[in-house]
Symmetry: C2
Subunit: 355 residues, 2 copies
């Protein structure tokens, strides 16, 4: 199609040249994630991946879809889309890690009213770098220009991951028993949940912009910096524990917080008691709670409150597990235990009464 | 979390009750798609699928991500989200079919400013019914409420499919040779491509609404009816031909039309000659061309023009292939052939000069 011929389509708001340019730059970022399983050349209709099943008794695929939510709006306000791609990949990788799976391949979807090359490349740079860090191939994806559907400067970003686990090693909570210990791994901020509430408190109620510091919060960083901290991947730290008897279950603390996510990893008859004073809830959670006048209960339902990944660990193996996590650069902390009772979570500690 | 406790989060635009209600109804639709490979219960972090590799020499995963584009806006104007879910699944299934793969599992993502239960259920009903028709499991998905990001009534819908093919049976165009025949399978309308241009011509230039008939077009149906015709899946008709020597390649005719998509299934040194007068371009393409004053060349670059799936078939096996496709309810037609030349597409026929 010549440039002249494109005119009617461009009048309708779709610029095929700009799309092509961005796609070209994106190709290099995709190639950089190639792993031995990748068979397809870019430009194929679908991505081809040949998994290795060596040493597996019964290979099981684990897959998950996720978005980044309104953290995207913060990225747009700051004018930096380089971090949300990493949020997306790490979020997806953690979601399948909790079932014992390691990631094989990832696909992304980018939607916008107009695909501006710079922003698209920033988005895919983030996706690509996190794929490399997690050892999974960015096997393909889709970019969609939808004029009039998205507001100028807004980008939607959706990700899909497929991983592999050997069936006997699937973590599903069934191994958890009374007396097990809850071990937390620190989050690196809000990760990708609670942004609607955070934006409401900081931008609408407090009238702050992304360039303002949050009042009375140390270290002194802007709202944008706090809110764009990258969602952490726990793959590297947790991988050595997969398939080991000491590790009973994992829970990725996303939307719904500890209250909603811990029970997903507990069997019937097991109840998690969370000692909320056993770790220091980090900024910016305390700032949002204080500035928004939000109940501590609700904070624990909306935000991760500093616990990004929860491990349910057999008490006898606790010290070994803690030492290994420290060896992998983590700062694990014990924050509760499993007791007999209805499946659920009990918050115990200052400000947690009435839970 | 009690209703009282939800208040601050609801003030920020996120209604967790409404989300829960929709998710509950969605669960039944998901369960209806269960296939023997499905291991996971809903509510797990990731979906679990155990593929059967029986009879395969070297199992290869094929995956693809897609959206529905601004066909979603048409669905919103009509007030009926029951069809776009089927568009999405069938589009994805066709995309991996062209490499010889049959679908195993599907995941969807639904984004909106406010998730209105009725619309979400309509969307997932479509996804679920098409998954059943294509024999793939709806293994999971994500719904995201992003206040202020989407306009009221707008929904984003993204899909992700994983299929399986035996490596020796991968279709990649390498088997195509000079003298092969191009066989078309009719599309069922615009499928999911060209909606920005179609909307521009019909709504903006012509001032039509979704409830108006398209002028001088028979049969007399509304713009909304024409534009929401469901993207067809070709799995059932094409599956019996997979792995057979007569079938050299497949091309799913999506964005970019025959001009962009046919070359993706051709090896170097092979050129597709398309006889544009060998089939009747159906309404509504002719209406859009006429009403928009759009060049025939551009029409072939933006729309499928009536060819939803193209098969490259060995000449000696042609009659057998045509008969088998007819046995599966298709109305195949020969629309061109492969000649020696630069990889590309040549449009030959009335109104196709200068291509």
């Amino acid at each position: 199609m010549s440039k002249e011929q494109q005119s009617a389509y461009r009048d309708a708001g779709v610029d095929i040249d700009a799309q092509d340019e961005a796609l070209h730059r994106v190709k290099d970022l995709v190639r950089a994630t190639t792993t031995p399983g990748v068979l397809s050349e870019l430009g194929s209709f679908g991505g081809l991946f040949r998994p290795s099943f060596e040493g597996l008794e019964e290979p099981v695929l684990v897959s998950s879809a996720d978005g980044v939510g309104t953290k995207l709006r913060v990225a747009g306000l700051v004018g930096d889309y380089s971090t949300v791609g990493r949020d997306l990949v790490n979020h997806c990788v953690n979601d399948i890690l909790v079932q014992g799976a390691e990631p094989l391949l990832f696909l992304d979807y980018v939607g916008a009213g107009v695909l501006e090359s710079g922003s698209v490349v920033q988005l895919v740079e983030g996706v690509s770098s996190a794929c490399r860090e997690n050892g999974c191939a960015l096997l393909g994806g889709e970019t969609a220009e939808m004029p009039g559907f998205y507001q100028p400067g807004d980008y939607e970003l959706v990700g899909f991951v497929v991983g592999l686990v050997d069936r006997p090693k699937i973590l599903d909570g069934s191994k958890v028993s009374v007396g097990d210990v809850l071990v937390g791994l620190p989050s690196s901020g809000l990760h990708t949940n609670g942004y609607s509430l955070a934006r409401h408190v900081l931008f609408e109620r407090q009238g702050l912009t992304v360039d303002d510091p949050i009042p009375d919060v140390e270290p002194r960083r802007t709202v944008g910096e706090w809110l764009l901290d990258v969602h952490k991947s726990y793959l590297r730290a947790v991988r050595p524990l997969l398939g080991r008897d000491e590790l009973r279950a994992l829970a990725h603390i996303t939307g719904g917080g500890l209250v909603d996510n811990l029970p997903r990893s507990l069997p019937a008859g097991c109840r998690a008691v969370v000692h909320t004073d056993s770790w220091e809830v980090p900024e910016p959670f305390r700032a949002i709670e204080r500035l928004g006048g939000i109940e501590r209960q609700e904070m624990f339902r909306v935000f991760n409150m500093g616990v990004g990944m929860a491990l349910v660990v057999r008490r006898e193996g606790l010290e070994t597990v803690l030492a290994e996590l420290r060896d992998h650069g983590e700062e694990p902390f014990v924050f509760g235990e499993v007791v007999a009772g209805d499946r659920g979570v009990e918050l115990s500690g200052e400000g947690a009464e009435g839970s």
